[in-house]
């Protein structure tokens, strides 16, 4: 299964199977043991971080992960900081990064950019988010977090709440869950932010038991994992549409009291106002540990892509 990662592109979580993700999780466990040391596994390698869209966790955790493995990192942060702002094509920018480095991590607001970059570059391309479509490494972290918390990913009841239309983290998470055997998945969103048809198509094709709902309160009692995402304001073509749904859902302590005691809330972050801040200090909140796992999981992925063992 290790071979499945070697020198490959990481475009969608659907490019993987559960066995390969289990190998990744095992590597992540090993990385956790070395998390306070600097390894030399990727000495002499250069990793490009091309972030044409804002990012805190993904970019920083990739940078830390690469550096902890001994690699050097070069970065493009925002279009204005690169020659793309002078009119250079993305294709030419990718060619340059490909010639300066051994792997390219890319984020862009256009869907399909990572696939396009992978067609151009000879080295591995890792999708760090393409528009509303994929965010495979976030899903690797999310599933790893679930596994750490529940010791299993199968057999749990999941609620995925929020902007399921534009959220790439939730889209990828649902694709990721489809590689496992969840007991049931509730898709909870306002009508206008329902999950897209292509996502439903994948869930149906993979025989995932799911149900669309409008209210968290109706299903909270059943959930083991609640995955929340903010409304993706930046992806709304029409600001008026955003105004209509702004603040349309919020997880409160009162709602959680009706749920299971060991319910865990995941969130890819940043969060805005969709989770009551008091929840941050409860055992429900798993999103900070989830963010922390960003480093070992991305270290594991890079190690597997470069074919080195911790």
């Amino acid at each position: 299964m290790k071979e499945l990662f070697y020198q490959r592109d990481v475009i969608s979580i659907l490019d993987f199977n559960r066995e390969s993700l289990e190998v990744l999780f095992e590597y992540a466990d090993r990385m956790l043991k070395h998390i306070d040391t600097k390894l030399s596994l990727l000495n002499g390698k250069v990793v490009s971080l091309a972030f044409f869209e804002p990012s805190t966790r993904t970019r920083l955790s990739f940078e830390v992960a690469a550096k902890k493995l001994g690699a050097d990192v070069i970065s493009i942060v925002g279009e204005e900081a690169s020659s793309v702002s002078k009119g250079e094509s993305l294709a030419d920018t990718i060619r340059m990064l490909d010639s300066y480095s051994n792997a390219i991590v890319i984020r862009h607001r256009y869907e399909g950019v990572a696939k396009y970059a992978a067609e151009i570059a000879e080295h591995s391309v890792i999708n760090a988010g393409d528009g509303k479509q994929h965010h495979p490494t976030q899903t690797m972290i999310d599933l790893y977090t679930v596994k750490k918390l529940f010791n299993d990913i199968d057999g749990l009841v999941y609620g995925v709440l929020g902007d399921l239309r534009y959220g790439r983290a939730t889209t990828s998470f649902l694709y990721g869950l489809s590689l496992f055997k969840p007991k049931k998945v509730y898709l909870i969103s306002p009508e206008s932010l329902r999950v897209r048809e292509e996502v439903l198509h994948v869930l149906k094709e993979r025989n995932i038991v799911f149900e669309e709902r409008r209210n968290l309160e109706d299903v909270i009692e059943e959930l083991d994992v609640l995955y929340v995402i903010r409304i993706q304001k930046e992806r709304f073509p029409d600001p008026l549409e955003y105004e209509k749904v702004k603040g349309s859902y919020k997880v409160t302590l009162e709602t959680l009291k009706k749920g299971k005691k060991n319910l865990k809330i995941l969130h890819p972050l940043p969060k805005v106002d969709e989770i009551d801040e008091r929840i941050d200090y409860t055992s429900y909140a798993a999103y900070f540990i989830q963010a922390k796992y960003g480093v070992p999981v991305r270290m594991a992925l890079l190690a597997l892509i470069f074919g080195v063992e911790p």
């Binding site: 009119g87 094509s89 993305l90 294709a91 607001r109 256009y110 869907e111 399909g112 950019v113 696939k115 396009y116 393409d130 528009g131 509303k132 479509q133 897209r196 048809e197 292509e198 198509h201 992806r235 073509p237």
Partner: protein, 160 residues
């Protein structure tokens, strides 16, 4: 002048005849095939001729060029009823119906404005995968967007 309207245009010696095109679609078919007349091919376009099957139909005759089934199958986007006749020495040597291919490259424009295929300054051909034949559903291989039914024909890009 003959009373047979289909005899207005003479038979071709060698080449391809696309028959049973819904009336009025011939020009769109040529567009999908990327044929603009400047290739120098002798082409006859018959429009709105009588048809037992369709009532009225269009026919395209292309002299001197044998189009491959892969090239022609994309016609199924516009004319699922179309039939292809390959002509050699005035005789039909092959006859088949069009069948929508599993991958359609460079024919449709993705309707998603933030799909990489719509980004200005990038040269990237659209690529759609057939995920359902009936009803027709196609998925953009870049952005994942699904298009179906009547929407598909509206997405055919100008290729001439």
């Amino acid at each position: 002048m003959s009373e047979e309207p289909t005899l207005v245009v003479s038979k071709i010696r060698n080449g391809t005849v696309i028959d049973h095109i819904p009336a009025g679609k011939a020009m769109d078919i040529l567009n999908v095939l990327g044929i603009n007349g400047r290739e120098g091919l002798r082409i006859a376009i018959l429009m709105n001729v009588e048809s037992k099957k369709l009532g009225r139909k269009d026919i395209i005759k292309i002299e001197g060029k044998r189009l491959s089934p892969e090239d022609l199958n994309v016609i199924a986007l516009l004319a699922p009823s179309a039939t292809i006749n390959i002509i050699e020495d005035f005789a039909v040597v092959e006859k088949h119906k069009v069948l929508l291919p599993n991958i359609i490259v460079g024919v449709l424009k993705c309707p998603n404005p933030t799909c990489i295929t719509n980004k200005r300054g990038e040269f990237v051909k659209t690529r759609f995968r057939l995920i359902s034949r009936d009803p027709v559903k196609l998925q953009c291989e870049y952005c994942g967007n699904v298009v179906s039914g009547d929407e598909v024909t509206k997405l055919i890009a100008k290729r001439r």
